[in-house]
């Protein structure tokens, strides 16, 4: 089960939290939650949907608590294993999206879910999903220079 969904959960956590280290911690926490309280799933898709929602909620909690906490500045010379490759504008643009768009964007553009499926999965109305996708697309186009530049 871990190997089936770890990439999905990790990518979603990375998209929300913006760093590999935080994404690793969050991914571990999500799977630990499932192991601590095992539950029965109807099928693999049900399992995946649960993990996606759990990861999204966990990332929101992390961001909320991180915004309240005053974290100390790390030394500049400390190597960062989760450093993002420099010059990856698309990646930076996606990470810069508002958090409320990220799950929809990920599920739509990468996982291939339909808007109706995303709405059912996240518990938001389909119209809201469509508007989120539209607004995210507009933001990305603006950030990436009108969509002319791809990667």
């Amino acid at each position: 089960m871990f190997r089936r969904h770890v990439k999905t959960v990790y990518r979603l956590c990375f998209a929300h939290l913006g760093s590999a280290t935080d994404a690793e911690d969050a991914t571990q926490s999500v799977f630990m939650k499932l192991l601590d309280r095992p539950r029965k799933f109807n099928d693999e898709e049900h399992e995946k949907a649960w993990l996606i929602v759990c990861a999204q909620n966990h990332c929101r909690d992390v961001l909320k608590s991180a915004s309240r906490r005053r974290t100390a500045e790390l030394p500049d010379d400390l190597p960062d294993e989760g450093a993002r490759p420099e010059g990856d504008e698309t990646l930076e643009a996606v990470l810069a999206l508002p958090s409320k768009y990220k799950t929809c964007v990920y599920l739509y553009y990468y996982e291939g879910y339909r808007t109706a499926d995303i709405a059912a999965l996240t518990g938001t109305p389909a119209s809201t999903v469509r508007s989120h996708l539209s607004e995210a697309r507009t933001l990305l186009r603006d950030m990436l220079g009108g969509g002319e530049r791809g990667r």
């Binding site: 089936r4 994404a23 690793e24 490759p85 643009a93 996606v94 553009y109 291939g112 808007t115 990305l140």
Partner: protein
């Protein structure tokens, strides 16, 4: 915004194929037909998907996360790259060596406990069987002693008749008495033969109080003759029984000065005393 735009799945390009593999292929194939997209839209979609693709974990990160999750649960993961279509048939975890040893010890302990319990049950069963057999032997001994007594009594009567000189005074009388008593008893189905062989044939004596006495037998199974000097006063007249045919005969019960045997019995028509004890 055109809703159709958000209902299609990319069917071109490597990213689209990757997404179809990661997502539900049936879902992708079931997507309704859409209006042709602008090249810049296609490029943007591909760019977004590609960005997410680059967010994926490395092999080391995956192994690290798995190890961290399992170590938190006290388990260790087996390193494996086997995945049957992304659906492992069973969890790819195994007990750590310590837990394997613990499991082996527990299994051995359980086996030993089961074996010990089985031995105890067997011993208890053998003991119970021995007690039961002992009880049976006791009853069989009394029955066999009765038959032995009867046979000895038969032999005694034959012997007494064959050796009249030994028991001249009593032997002559005894057979006659036996004969007389036997004649009397023969006429009565309830009374058996009396005299010298009565003790052999009727080893049990029923007292008026309901108590039952048993004539003591020696090692050879013959009635143990009492020492007349130790025989005390007569206690009562009683009925002796014990024959296979259910016959009875009259007898007298006496007190005894013998420490081992509290009673003595003399059968009517006979002059010998036999030690008797309370029947169990």
């Amino acid at each position: 915004m055109d809703d159709e735009r958000f209902r299609r799945i990319d069917a071109e390009g490597p990213i689209g194929r990757t997404r179809r593999e990661n997502g539900d292929a049936s879902r992708a194939e079931a997507a309704p037909a859409h209006a042709p997209r602008r090249p810049q839209d296609v490029a943007l979609d591909d760019a977004i998907a590609s960005a997410f693709d680059r967010m994926g974990p490395s092999e080391e990160a995956e192994a690290r996360m798995l190890a961290a999750v399992l170590s938190a649960r006290g388990e260790h993961a087996l390193p494996t790259a086997r995945e049957t279509g992304g659906l492992p048939l069973k969890p790819i975890v195994a007990d750590c060596p310590t837990q394997q040893r613990k499991t082996a010890r527990t299994s051995r302990f359980v086996l030993q406990a089961v074996a010990a319990a089985a031995c105890l049950v067997l011993v208890a069963g053998v003991g119970a069987f021995a007690l039961y057999a002992n009880g049976l032997n006791g009853r069989n001994t009394s029955g066999s002693s009765q038959s032995a007594v009867q046979s000895i009594g038969d032999g005694a009567s034959a012997g007494s008749s064959a050796e009249p000189s030994k028991d001249a005074s009593t032997g002559n009388e005894a057979p006659q008495a036996d004969q007389s008593v036997g004649a009397e008893s023969a006429s009565s189905s309830s009374n058996g033969s009396a005299g010298e062989d009565a003790g052999a044939r009727y080893p049990l004596v029923q007292l008026a109080s309901g108590q039952t006495l048993r004539v003591v037998l020696d090692d050879a199974g013959r009635p143990l003759t009492a020492d007349p000097s130790l025989v005390g006063a007569e206690l009562e007249q009683a009925t002796a029984f014990g024959g296979a045919s259910g016959d009875t005969t009259a007898c007298a019960v006496f007190a005894s000065a013998d420490v081992a045997h509290p009673f003595a019995v003399r059968y009517d028509g006979g002059d010998r005393y036999y030690w008797a004890d309370e029947a169990g």
